[in-house]
């Protein structure tokens, strides 16, 4: 394997990890506030559909992004209504949201475009274009650093850079702001936050709104940047891989970057080498595809470092009277 191939695989990994990273950070906000969210998949799917539809109709990827966020937020609101206001089971609500998105996207897509649930292919400004960073072309011929800068770092869509910028931002919000402190507290011990006179309900709604926005960006990225249009079930389990990455990262932003990069890399390698020949054994692509899930189970089992979820996660908060 030569240097150029490695750069290509890494470049592909960066593209593939972006939706995972955004969805993983989305789940991070929600789960750190004590609201489990297994509906990341559904929210991304809904966002991908609304983003692609609006981008096709208006011809603007940015309006598509707005629509993606709106579509994802609507599902977040249902999740909030079920799990915060009516204190229902957060896991069941997440399952329902996944099915709702899976059914509605095809139903509406068929109605609007009549293509069996697909949207027409997006062209031109309806997609996010690749940004060439300054001096990328000038530096291309410099050995080692040149290709890394020109191929790997430059030449992605704005959403990729946004996703990477979200990592330090999330770290800062969680660990250096009042909102972040309260968010973490409400996920560990909501009663203490309530005693301090801060509304648990409002904080948790804020958290799932942020979760909805980030899932919306992730879905819009899938449909208007990574591919050109919406296809039925196009998230293909990415929401669950993001969930796995979140556990892998032990609910921390910088680790989320590492975990989603690892999973993106696995996908990139599986795409490039369907049957990876390691000399002694040949690894089938199915194994590479299942590896994120297997790794997560191993991490969850606590054999390699223990993943402890936020203490109040999954529990609706009932104020004592």
């Amino acid at each position: 394997m030569d240097f150029a191939t490695i750069i290509q695989i890494l470049d592909s990994a960066v593209r593939l990890m972006t939706p995972l990273l955004l969805a993983c950070l989305a789940g991070l906000y929600s789960e750190r506030s004590g609201v489990f969210d297994i509906g990341l998949e559904g929210k991304m799917l809904m966002a991908a559909f609304t983003a692609a539809s609006v981008a096709y109709v208006t011809g603007s990827a940015w309006l598509g992004l707005m629509a993606g966020i709106a579509g994802s937020l609507a599902l977040s609101l249902i999740h909030g209504l079920a799990s915060i206001t009516f204190r229902g089971n957060q896991l069941i609500s997440g399952v329902a949201i996944n099915f709702l998105a899976s059914g509605l996207t095809v139903l509406l897509g068929q109605k609007i475009f009549g293509l069996g649930g697909r949207t027409p292919a997006l062209e031109g400004n309806a997609r996010f274009g690749e940004i060439t960073l300054p001096f990328a072309d000038a530096l291309r011929d410099v050995p080692v650093i040149g290709p890394i800068y020109a191929e790997l770092i430059s030449g992605h869509t704005i959403l990729v850079y946004l996703a990477f910028a979200m990592v330090p931002l999330t770290w800062w919000v969680l660990n250096r702001t009042r909102f972040g402190l309260r968010l973490r507290a409400v996920g560990e011990n909501p009663a203490s936050v309530d005693t301090a006179g801060v509304s648990v309900t409002r904080l948790r709604y804020a958290a799932i709104a942020i979760c909805g926005i980030l899932c919306g960006i992730a879905g819009a990225y899938l449909a208007t940047a990574l591919s050109a249009g919406f296809v039925k079930e196009m998230t293909a389990g990415r929401g669950f891989i993001a969930l796995a990455a979140l556990i892998f990262a032990k609910w921390r932003p910088w680790s989320a970057l590492g975990a989603t990069f690892l999973f993106g890399l696995l996908e990139a390698i599986a795409n490039r080498y369907p049957n990876l020949d390691l000399g002694i054994i040949t690894i089938p692509s199915m194994f590479m595809n299942a590896l994120p899930y297997i790794l997560t189970v191993i991490i969850l089992a606590g054999f390699v470092g223990r993943a402890i979820p936020p203490r109040a996660g999954g529990e609706p908060y009932v104020k004592e009277r």
């Binding site: 229902g88 399952v95 109605k111 796995a244």
Partner: protein
């Protein structure tokens, strides 16, 4: 004091949830420019209007009874088993291995052996998440989701690289021997001289499913183990104090749950396809969640809810055939049923409780 009479809790709340789900579904159909009334008529005619329709409805019902019971048993131990999909897929592998590699001269012998294979593989697939939950505290919802994906990948590998007959391009196993063919209900009706449900997949497994409902009812409410499962589900510290081992109950409940999900394979793999194909479960594992919630975690409720979803499934297929409504409408209905009976249960329940309280006050005064 009970806030509402038991009948209201058991019948009224699921019924109202169902009506809400139906109303919103009707709105969705209106929104895509179709007539809900016509859709309902098409669905009823297609699934219940003929013995052909019934044959498919009952076939789907059989699948959903097994996966619904699987979710239900785990739920009584307050474990949420989302892994029915993977466990049923693995049950299919168990059935295929038994039928392909063991000489079984007659279906009466093949059926129990295949049942053991299906249940053993399903239970084995549920065992690891159960053990991890019981011993290592890993959340069973997450691990069972992960195991669904791992099962799909494993099955894909086995079908492409191991079970696929030489020269075949299709990722599917060879056909099962003719001697293991399960009699379909139409064969049985014909034996009594009746023409019923020709060319439909419903088979003798339907009766196995009804038997499973009875056995699960006996298990949960009439045995010591069932009592322990329910006690553990209500309160873990309470169960511990009563000398019930959480590890033992978690693992046993999940083994039974996985076994029931696996048993579905004798219907779809052995009874219908008669070979193992890719993605044979087709989401039935997830429908089990809706069925268990709708059926209020009681075998009779599960049976009725499975019948309802069997109707929806077959009716949805007919909709796609005769109208321009895609069959994904069923997925939306399924989502709404899960949402209203599961997650938004309190939204339905709270006003009802208030209503009953005020009625009681007026009655008492």
């Amino acid at each position: 004091m009970e806030k509402m009479p038991k009948w209201a809790d058991v019948i009224l709340t699921p019924l109202i949830s169902l009506l809400l789900a139906a109303a919103i579904s009707a709105l969705v159909i209106l929104a895509i420019g179709e007539s809900p009334w016509l859709a309902l008529k098409t669905m009823i005619e297609g699934s219940l209007g003929s013995s052909y329709g019934w044959g498919f409805t009952l076939y789907y019902t059989t699948n959903f009874i097994f996966t619904g019971l699987a979710v239900m048993v785990a739920y009584h131990a307050s474990l949420f088993n989302i892994g029915g999909e993977g466990q049923a897929a693995m049950g299919g592998l168990g059935v295929a291995l038994v039928l392909l590699y063991l000489p079984l001269p007659h279906w009466l012998i093949a059926l129990p052996v295949a049942m053991i294979g299906a249940a053993a593989f399903g239970a084995a697939w549920a065992f690891i998440p159960a053990w991890l939950q019981a011993k290592r505290g890993s959340h069973i919802v997450i691990t069972t989701i992960m195991f669904n994906f791992i099962a799909a990948a494993a099955l894909n590998y086995v079908l492409v690289n191991v079970l696929r007959p030489v020269g075949s391009m299709d990722p599917a196993s060879a056909r099962f021997p003719e001697s293991t063919h399960l009699p379909s209900l139409s064969d049985m009706a014909l034996a009594f001289g009746m023409e019923w449900g020709k060319n439909t997949p419903v088979n003798v497994t339907f009766f196995v499913a009804i038997g499973a409902c009875l056995l699960v009812w006996l298990l949960i409410w009439r045995t010591r183990l069932g009592y322990e499962i329910r006690a553990f589900g209500k309160s873990e510290p309470g169960a511990l104090y009563a000398g019930i081992s959480p590890v033992r109950i978690t693992i046993i409940a999940m083994l039974i749950s996985g076994g029931l999900a696996g048993l579905m394979a004798i219907n779809n793999v052995m009874g219908e396809a008669e070979r193992l194909v890719l993605n044979a479960v087709e989401g039935a594992g997830f429908i089990g969640i809706a069925v268990a919630l709708m059926g209020r975690n009681h075998p009779l409720g599960v049976f009725l809810a499975a019948l309802l979803f069997g109707f929806l499934y077959q009716g949805g297929g007919e909709l796609a055939l005769w109208t321009s409504i895609p069959r994904e409408l069923i997925v939306v209905i399924q989502a709404l049923v899960i949402l209203f009976t599961g997650a938004l249960d309190n939204m339905v329940r709270m006003p009802l409780e208030r209503l009953f309280l005020s009625m009681r006050k007026r009655g008492g005064a």
